[in-house]
């Protein structure tokens, strides 16, 4: 008997001893357990949040009162600043998602389709490099590059042009977030494009479609699930982002996460913080659900929902 056969038999015997055949039906569940546990913990956490959000803070003891009340939600509704910040957050997330996808798609496409090895290598390196640099460090990097006396303004003044305010406003926040989200989006779109055989595009061309038509009728519809996935990830990450608006926004263009942070930590009001969190989670979930509903069943490759 060849050695490898004996080796494999031994392994099989071991597996059989550790995981008897009558347990086989549970194998799938066993692999699912860690994920289910994690999701379970998340759900429990959300439950606690909901519970917290229904109690008002007692300012005398800085504890939440025992009785249930909707005061925190009333605070959210009564203070227009929350609405303003929430609107800014949603608008920012939509902008960031749109711009990021617009930039990520061609990048991913060229990365997958290029036949020039050094182009692919360069694109890969530029894609992965940012992952080694944290969000905060990157934001501070932009402070240096885009600052009043930063690289860009030095170039401008060197060319005899007036220095520009490139930082501490909404566009700067959007810029920083797009730059931060781009690698995530590209990574999520790459497999979608890899899954489109090149012959699909050749077929379309040979059937009479110039590249723009091929893109519209073949590449885009086939990459659609990947785009939706990437869009949802970018959107939710942006919705909950904290550091970029804080640092690049100069403190006056906060996103909703900052309002939550301030409630929890600055004014030590976990009830209000929890209520604001619930608002953000609910709104985010509703938007994502709407996207999936509109993008149609079968997005994310879920079968059984065939039209």
């Amino acid at each position: 008997m060849p050695l490898t056969w004996r080796f494999l038999d031994t392994i099989e015997a071991l597996v059989a001893a550790l995981w008897p055949a009558r347990w086989r039906g549970a194998t799938g569940w066993a692999f699912l357990m860690p994920a289910l546990l994690l999701v379970g913990v998340l759900v429990i956490g959300l439950g606690y949040m909901l519970e917290y959000s229904l109690h008002e803070l007692n300012l005398a003891t800085y504890r939440l009162r025992d009785e249930y009340a909707l005061t925190n939600y009333a605070t959210f509704l009564n203070r227009p600043v929350y609405g303003t910040v929430l609107w800014r957050t949603v608008l920012g997330s939509v902008l960031v998602t749109g711009i990021t996808l617009l930039l990520a798609f061609p990048y991913a496409y060229v990365l997958v389709r290029t036949r020039v090895p050094w182009v692919r290598k360069a694109l890969l390196v530029t894609l992965f490099l940012p992952f080694f640099i944290g969000q905060v460090v990157r934001a501070y990097g932009w402070l240096i590059v885009l600052g009043r006396e930063g690289l860009v303004n030095s170039l401008l003044t060197g060319l005899g042009l007036p220095a520009q305010d490139l930082l501490f406003h909404f566009p700067a926040v959007i810029f920083g977030l797009v730059q931060y989200m781009l690698p995530f989006a590209i990574l999520l779109i790459v497999p979608a494009i890899t899954a489109i055989p090149e012959d699909m595009e050749r077929a379309s061309e040979s059937l009479g479609a110039p590249w723009p038509a091929t893109f519209r009728h073949v590449v885009l519809p086939m990459a659609w699930p990947g785009l939706i996935g990437a869009g949802v990830v970018v959107f939710t990450l942006t919705m909950t982002d904290f550091a970029m608006p804080e640092i690049l926004g100069g403190g006056t263009t906060d996103f909703f996460a900052s309002a939550i942070y301030d409630s929890f930590f600055q004014i030590s009001n976990p009830g209000l913080g929890a209520a604001l969190s619930m608002v953000l989670v609910t709104l985010g979930s509703l938007i994502v659900a709407a996207v999936f509903a509109l993008a149609g069943p079968g997005t994310l490759g879920i079968r059984g929902a065939r039209t």
């Binding site: 077929a203 040979s206 059937l207």
Partner: protein, 364 residues
């Protein structure tokens, strides 16, 4: 009549690799031409240049007499069926077939009729609403061919579309393709590594190896008069032997020495000189076998059966022949009586006619 496609000394290099070298060929209107060769021989590159997906490094390609070097694929009137079909998965069969009509701006009112007509041509009437993944492999083939033909292209290109099918379905589809091709009289270039497919389907066959066209001829001519050792070996089951010319007669008759034995043979193509090293080739079905004694053929040698492979309608014998320098010959036998009595290890006598032993000058 002008050829539909004409290639003149077309070459294609990728970096240092010469994928196609000085290829010239032409296809007459309505003909079915197959380019056949082992994988990596350059046949797919050749096809892609005709389709417009690759630009030749040198040489010229004409379609209907016009040079097409700078014409993009979508402006060429070429239908193509891809190896993996490349049906659009997000469209129904009918939408797939309508796609070229829309892209080529056919009048919207004629499109439904054409789609229906071609669905029926490929015997898929009633299945137009199905998505590709809801169709069987053979049905998908039919959609692909309907899509490639619906806009009446000047030329149909087939890039090994049958290679993924199992043998029985493949053979059915070969005949089906041939029927449709004849019915529409569409000029077709097919690419395959399957010699049987080439022989069955084609009016003309081009054999390629290492980027070079080895021979272009009708299937019969190619089989009967291969131009060289490669072509002889590529089509059919052929034994190759190293030999040396001992005598050159009139009418192409030659005598060659293989091992210790002098064999009667015929020279093919090139002029042969006495003493020159040559490749000899003999097809398995041209060798006869008898247990012992008889028959009065030009060449007779004795050997020992190494292997006996039963294939139903025939038995393949692999026979070692000491007198030919221990050469190993393959041959077929269809005589049921012989099958019963011949066993492995048994001594046998092999015999064949001089004209069946092809001799080629050694290629350098």
């Amino acid at each position: 009549m002008n050829p539909v496609v004409e290639l003149t000394r077309v070459s294609k290099t990728f970096g240092d690799i010469r994928a196609v070298s000085e290829a010239s060929l032409s296809v007459a209107r309505g003909d079915f031409l197959t380019v056949v060769g082992p994988s990596g021989c350059g046949k797919t590159t050749l096809l892609r240049m005709i389709a417009g997906f690759e630009t030749p490094s040198s040489g010229e390609i004409r379609i209907n007499g016009d040079r097409v070097d700078v014409v993009p694929p979508y402006r060429r009137s070429i239908g193509m069926v891809f190896q993996k079909l490349a049906l659009f998965p997000h469209m129904t069969a009918a939408q797939n077939i309508a796609y070229p009509l829309k892209m080529r701006r056919f009048a919207p009112r004629v499109i439904p009729g054409l789609v229906k007509q071609y669905l029926e041509l490929v015997q898929l009437g009633g299945l137009g609403d199905r998505r590709p993944h809801e169709l069987s492999g053979g049905q998908q083939q039919r959609v692909a061919i309907a899509r490639a033909l619906v806009f009446s292209p000047d030329l149909l290109l087939l890039d090994e579309p049958l290679s993924a099918l199992d043998r029985k379905l493949r053979e059915e589809m070969q005949l089906e393709f041939r029927r449709i091709q004849r019915e529409l009289a569409v000029t077709t270039i097919n690419v395959t590594h399957d010699q049987r497919e080439a022989l069955v389907m084609s009016d003309q066959i081009v054999v390629m190896d290492q980027g070079v066209i080895q021979q272009a001829a009708t299937p019969q001519a190619l089989y009967r008069q291969p131009a060289n050792r490669f072509v002889a070996h590529f089509l059919g089951v052929t034994t190759l032997l190293d030999g040396r010319v001992v005598r050159v007669g009139d009418d192409g008759d030659v005598a060659v020495q293989v091992g210790d034995t002098v064999l009667q043979a015929r020279g093919v193509g090139q002029a042969l000189v006495t003493g020159a090293p040559v490749d000899c080739a003999i097809r398995a079905e041209r060798i006869g076998m008898a247990a012992h004694g008889q028959p009065g053929l030009d060449n007779t040698v004795d050997g020992v059966v190494l292997q006996r492979i039963f294939e139903g309608d025939r038995v393949v014998y692999v026979v070692r022949v000491p007198a030919l320098g221990d050469a190993v010959l393959s041959l077929f036998d269809r005589d049921a009586d012989v099958h019963e009595t011949t066993t492995e290890g048994q001594s046998v006598r092999l015999a064949w006619q001089a004209r069946d032993l092809m001799v080629f000058a050694k290629q350098t």
